[in-house]
């Protein structure tokens, strides 16, 4: 059924997206790479050069890197610990009809404004929120907003839906007969979970953790609103460098470093989880 004209048609069909990708994604990243070896012009912006000075200057933003590389893994782990039992409950303990509704309810917040959801926590953790409530019960002087704890709460809240979904998918696909076999062979439920269920759900866990971790590396809003300038991430440094101080060459070096760290993590993940010839698609809807 393949007509002669179909190859032209295929080219035409995929051309717009291909052009868009090249012009707005691939070329710009190459431009950022070039900029990162440049120098800062007197009036701000970029002056062509070939120097590693920008990369040598990275320690100037060490705090941002340190905060990100500490809070992103901790946040990912916390989100995972809260998400796993819920994913397990949804995949194995709920009837099929209720499962759909409950799963939708988990995902819905993810598709609403991230800004508004983070703002809500600013409201809850702020002076008149939980601290005021605690004061009412006689616990005074608790400060939550603008602390690493607030940033962590924001992270768990924002990324929980994204964490639940891939884990749910891997748990739902789990072969029931393996669990029965384990049970028949006299394994306790805990042992079955540790030796059968958990290992088999690891691909989903790894996918979820990687997605959340990568998105966290570029996070700006949560530290900006809940960290209040005290707890800042690489994302906040990038906003400052590109939009406020307009030091594009240095900003580019920070951005390239960020992308390299992310690529490193993705490669590591691919090596660890996927054996050749085995692919898996996880979609959010």
């Amino acid at each position: 059924m393949i007509r002669k004209s179909s190859s032209h048609l295929t080219t035409l069909l995929i051309a717009p997206m291909a052009i868009w990708m090249v012009v707005l994604l691939i070329l710009p990243i190459l431009v950022v790479l070039v900029y990162s070896f440049g120098e800062l012009a007197e009036m701000g912006g970029y002056k062509p050069a070939f120097t590693f000075a920008q990369y040598a200057n990275l320690p100037a933003r060490l705090t941002a890197f340190k905060n990100t590389l500490m809070l992103a893994p901790v946040g990912t782990l916390a989100a995972f610990l809260i998400a796993y039992p819920l994913a397990y409950y949804l995949a194995r303990k709920v009837s099929a009809r209720r499962r759909l509704i409950l799963l939708t309810l988990v995902i819905v917040p993810f598709w609403t404004s991230f800004l508004i959801r983070t703002y809500a926590w600013m409201f809850i953790l702020g002076g008149r929120g939980i601290p005021a409530l605690l004061e009412y019960f006689g616990i005074e002087g608790v400060r939550l907003l603008n602390t690493p704890t607030a940033v962590l709460i924001g992270i768990v809240y924002g990324y929980l839906p994204l964490m639940v979904f891939p884990i749910f998918v891997s748990l739902e696909k789990l072969d029931e007969s393996l669990l029965e076999a384990s049970n028949d062979l006299g394994a306790s439920p805990v042992r079955t979970f540790l030796q059968v269920t958990l290992p088999l759900s690891l691909p989903g866990v790894a996918t979820a953790c990687m997605v959340v971790f990568i998105l966290l590396m570029g996070e700006f809003l949560i530290p900006a609103l809940l960290g209040g300038g005290k707890v800042f991430f690489i994302g906040n440094a990038l906003v400052d460098l590109f939009l406020q101080s307009r030091n594009w060459p240095f900003g580019s070096a920070v951005a390239i470093t960020l992308v390299v760290i992310m690529l490193f993590i993705v490669t590591l993940y691919m090596r660890l989880i996927f054996r050749p010839g085995k692919t898996r698609e996880v979609s959010m809807i």
Binding site: I14, I82, P85, W111, L115, A120, Y157, V211, L243
Partner: protein, 269 residues
């Protein structure tokens, strides 16, 4: 186990509920409940800055939804016939585009467009006919936000629509071609009706994503203010009941569109 699930759901929904609750606050202070009133919605909607930001957001979101669903449909249909290395490159690019944090998109688009404008503006000044007066200076704004949003959402549209294309009944297309329908007619009368729910769902989702996006727009907006940018700037100045009302309205818009798109995706043809 059930109790645990209930607690997690409460954790997920209480913050959203609190924002909606406080948007009906009658008092002048954002965080003290003083009776029920809808007056802050009225105040927000008569604020010219809010209306201007809303207009920007709506134009960008509508254009993004339209462009990304057209480009996504084309790509989903085209990629069916692509195999081998090219297919692998495309698939990786699509996943990269979905996975990348928004901030990287923002920087990439900002750098690309600012560099391009540095070339275009002087050129425009030379080439611009004198009779038309002063040459316009192109700058970042509506178009740059739309470009960046379209790039990001097209990848997602492609994935959603592709799922629909793969579930499509191929024999109908073959029958149509055997009956000498032109490719266009086959597309219009056979393919399109089958994948249309997917296209519409993708368009609604992308509208929501674009409407809610803050970080990408923040980088490439130039002087324009979209609704999330307005909200962000206001929050930094202090929390007001007006912001709660705007936030509640934004939540309602995305929830409505979200449930509509979910309904469409669940519907079987």
């Amino acid at each position: 186990m059930r109790l645990y699930a209930l607690l997690v759901y409460l954790f997920l929904y209480i913050p959203i509920g609190i924002i909606v609750l406080f948007s009906f606050n009658a008092g002048r202070h954002a965080s003290e409940l003083q009776g029920f009133s809808t007056k802050w919605f009225g105040i927000a909607l008569s604020n010219p800055f809010v209306m201007d930001a809303l207009k920007t957001s709506l134009i960008v979101a509508a254009t993004t939804a339209l462009l990304s669903s057209i480009m996504g449909t084309m790509a989903a249909l085209g990629l069916q016939n692509v195999r081998g290395l090219l297919r692998m490159i495309f698939d990786s690019l699509i996943y990269i585009a979905i996975m990348i944090p928004g901030i990287v998109f923002g920087i990439a688009t900002l750098v690309a467009l600012a560099t391009a404008l540095d070339f275009i503006n002087p050129l425009l000044k030379i080439l611009w006919p004198v009779v038309l007066g002063e040459a316009p200076r192109l700058k970042l704004g509506l178009i740059s936000i739309t470009c960046a949003h379209t790039l990001w959402t097209t990848a997602l549209a492609t994935v959603i629509i592709r799922a629909r294309v793969q579930g499509m009944d191929r024999s109908l297309i073959e029958a149509s071609m055997d009956l000498y329908a032109t490719p266009w007619r086959t597309f219009y009368q056979v393919t399109l009706p089958q994948i249309f729910p997917g296209i519409l769902a993708a368009a609604l989702l992308n509208f929501t994503l674009s409407f809610d996006d803050f970080i990408i727009a923040f980088f490439v907006a130039g002087g324009r203010t979209s609704l999330p940018i307005y909200v962000f700037a206001s929050i930094r100045r202090g929390i007001t009941p007006e912001i709660n009302a705007i936030a509640a309205m934004m939540l309602i818009v995305s929830l409505t569109l979200l449930f509509a798109s979910q309904g469409l995706l669940r519907k079987r043809t």
